[in-house]
Amino acid sequence: MLSNLFAQSGRLLKINLKRDRWRLLVWFLVLAGLMVGYASKIGVIYTSQKSVDALVVTLRSPAMIAVLGYIPKSISITEATLFSGEMLVFMGLFYGLASLLLAINVTRGDEDQGLTELVRAKSVGRQALLLAAFLESIVFNLFLFLIVGGGLQLANMSGANTSGNWLSAALLAGVGLLFGAIGILTAQAASEARTATTAAITVLGAAYIVRMLIDVKQPKYNWWSPLGWIEQGGAYYRNNWLPAVYLLLATFVILLVAMAISSHRDIGAGLIAVRNGKAKSWFLRGPLTALIKVDAKSFWSWLFGAIILGLMYGSIFDSITDVIKSNKFMATMFSTAMKQKASDALLLQFMATLAIIFVIVATLRGIFLVNQIDGDAKKGYLEQLLAKPISRIRIFVTYIGYAVVNSLLVFAAGLAGLYAGNLAVMKHPLALKYFIRLFNGYSVAILLMIAIAAILIAFIPRLKNLTLLYTGFGFIMMYFHSIFKLKVWMVKLVPYGWMRNLPIKAINWANFTGLLVVALVLLIIAVIGFQRRDQITK
């Protein structure tokens, strides 16, 4: 019975590990490198008490709590507790992302390619593929646990203790395992890898946003999100191992559900059967309409996702201005107008930091669409288009144009959500002009990022994911430049840097024009490059 279910899981694990070795290694180096690297350098970055105090003030601002998590007021600030407050929740997001992507790739990704069918025809257990995927997740996270835990021991931060070091490593590995299992679960429920990935990332995003809302408003309720469990562990000050145990328990429960679904479905199918449709469509007529129809599900997901993200952040605007209301000195000495001005200033400061999240989300949407040119060429969709009397330029411009429009729509949707949230919770909401200023200013920076993606697709498509790395780099530069004490020229290494301090300051139109010109020139070069290269690349 058991052998029928799990036979050859070990061998499959070995094959998968061999095949995924580079992917695993890159994630491993990034995750472990960030954790251990930062831990060993934290003492060098913050040398004086003054700089530590300034950092703590920054970290306790709502914008930072929203992204990095909550640091309890009662604890004493040491290098170790700073590290735990700054790194663990944020890294949890990436541990979760890495594990779920890996798990979906080995389960649903293989199934979509027909590999699963080939393997299942051998004397391999019914659940062996699923188990092998989970074992791979265990191997990956166990290694991370050992290396990060050991690395933290060696980093020897002041205020660190052995239990805290290993708990930090364990909590993150636990989050990795949990989202690996969630990836396996969505891979069983969805009918193809892309849907499974979207579903799993949505769960991760929801966990992160729920934690954000709770952290900003009522931190003690952060049990409601698995990412909040990291904070409940309180590495270095509370050292509570219970959340780590809960993460493991949750992982196993989800794995059991995944196995139950897997045993009830056919190979190549999802839980929900694909329904028949109409034989005719009035809508479809060419490459653009085909792209729009294929992309319809993603289109609405991104748009609604952005609006919800905006609403969530907008709904914490009142918590940010609470400081002014609760401050007795200000309440008595300041006039209403002055209080309003102070409140607006605080909000604008918050928005200036926060805006980059919406910018990045919008950029990612555009880059994914640009990179889809290469994906669709590999999948064979482009071959059908290229055999028609449709020029190469038209196909390229269709994808790029659609990407630009979508990026701007997602950006606008996010800001609209933010504005609506702001209207809903604020007695004196922030004026619309600030939101429009943000949109106008950053839209050219987003355009430039899309142009860079287009250049890579036109000239070196196999390096297309570099644009994603660059975007990630851009986020870190923009969001954390005050924490890392970055110089202005460093922030300007990314297009967003030329628009920083929006909406506090007005748009610098010289910078705006510069970004726009560079973006347009790059786009033209990309079009020419694409037109000249082979359309089907190996």
Partner: protein
């Protein structure tokens, strides 16, 4: 041949990095002609076709379709041709019917009576979503869209690899119709019987080179006729004749023999046979399979000797 040249491929070369995919490809397709383009897997069939379609840029040589350059004039050219890829991938979440109409519209054509007729003949359910079709059904969708196009040049890359025999017959009938209408057809395949039935001209490609091109009748002169003879007495005398190959007895008394004869030696061998008391004789035309195996085998032998040097 007075018919107009539709496709003219001259000394085409193509490299992917260090890999020489096409070394020297030269052949033509004329109006009203079915050209069978055959070769083993990985010989360069699809690469050649993609170059003809302007999806890949040739590193050397010229490709002209309707007298225009395949790479720079692809849009003009594609208005007059249609293509069915070897692996048909279709946009997910479209139905089969929607896909057929889209493919037709993009060719500047419309869903017509022929389309409906083909959907019926191929027994395709056009309301199913593309991702639920099998390989054969996906191929049918691309074939229906292509066959109901009214253009001058049809390119099929291994079109029947997923079809069942009944559908294959429908396809062959359609090719015959197009030929009667004076269209040009390029049919790549490794299914030899298919090309043999439909092709007027055969082009054999191997490792990026055209190893043979000509009509099937012309090529048969290049190969051997298979003969099986049953005689009243021993046939040992035949074995030593010039032009006789692969001679073997199928019984102990040496009265039944199988062998192949070079085309130019056929006359002499037949005369020698008339001296024997023949009880039964079977003469088989060389099949494309034989042709194919000859080139396939020959190059393999070269490779072996090449390695020995």
């Amino acid at each position: 041949m007075a018919a107009k040249i539709v496709l003219d491929v001259q000394h085409v070369q193509k490299k992917f990095g260090k890999f020489q995919a096409l070394t020297d490809i030269t052949f033509q397709v004329h109006q009203g002609e079915v050209v069978g383009f055959i070769g083993p897997n990985g010989a360069g069939k699809s690469t050649t076709i993609r170059t003809i379609l302007g999806m890949l840029k040739a590193d050397g040589g010229t490709v002209k379709v309707f007298g225009e350059d395949a790479w720079s004039k692809s849009v003009t050219i594609h208005q007059r041709l249609t293509y069915v890829p070897g692996d048909v991938y279709l946009w997910p979440n479209f139905t089969g019917g929607q896909t057929i109409d889209l493919l037709l519209k993009m060719s500047g054509q419309k869903h017509n009576a022929k389309t409906d007729e083909l959907i019926k003949e191929f027994e395709l359910d056009p309301t199913k979503k593309n991702q639920t079709y099998s390989k054969g059904n996906r191929q049918k969708i691309a074939l229906i869209a292509a066959l109901s196009c009214d253009v001058d040049f049809y390119i099929f890359d291994e079109p029947t690899s997923g079809l069942d025999p009944l559908n294959e017959v429908i396809f062959q009938k359609e090719i015959e119709r197009l030929k009667q209408e004076g269209k040009a057809i390029l049919l790549s395949s490794h299914i030899l019987s298919e090309v043999e039935k439909m092709g007027d001209t055969i082009v054999i490609i191997r490792q990026g080179n055209i190893v043979e091109a000509g009509s099937l009748a012309e090529m048969r002169h290049l190969t051997r006729t298979n003969i099986t003879v049953t005689a009243a007495q021993s046939l040992a005398a035949i074995k030593t004749l010039k032009g006789v190959h692969q001679f073997k007895f199928t019984d102990d008394s040496e009265k039944i023999a199988e062998f192949s004869v070079d085309s130019d030696a056929l006359q002499a061998v037949m005369q020698a046979l008339t001296n024997e008391t023949i009880l039964n004789i079977q003469v088989a035309q060389p099949t494309l399979e034989d042709l194919f195996m000859r080139y396939y085998g020959a190059t393999n032998a070269e490779e072996v000797s090449g390695r020995a040097e």
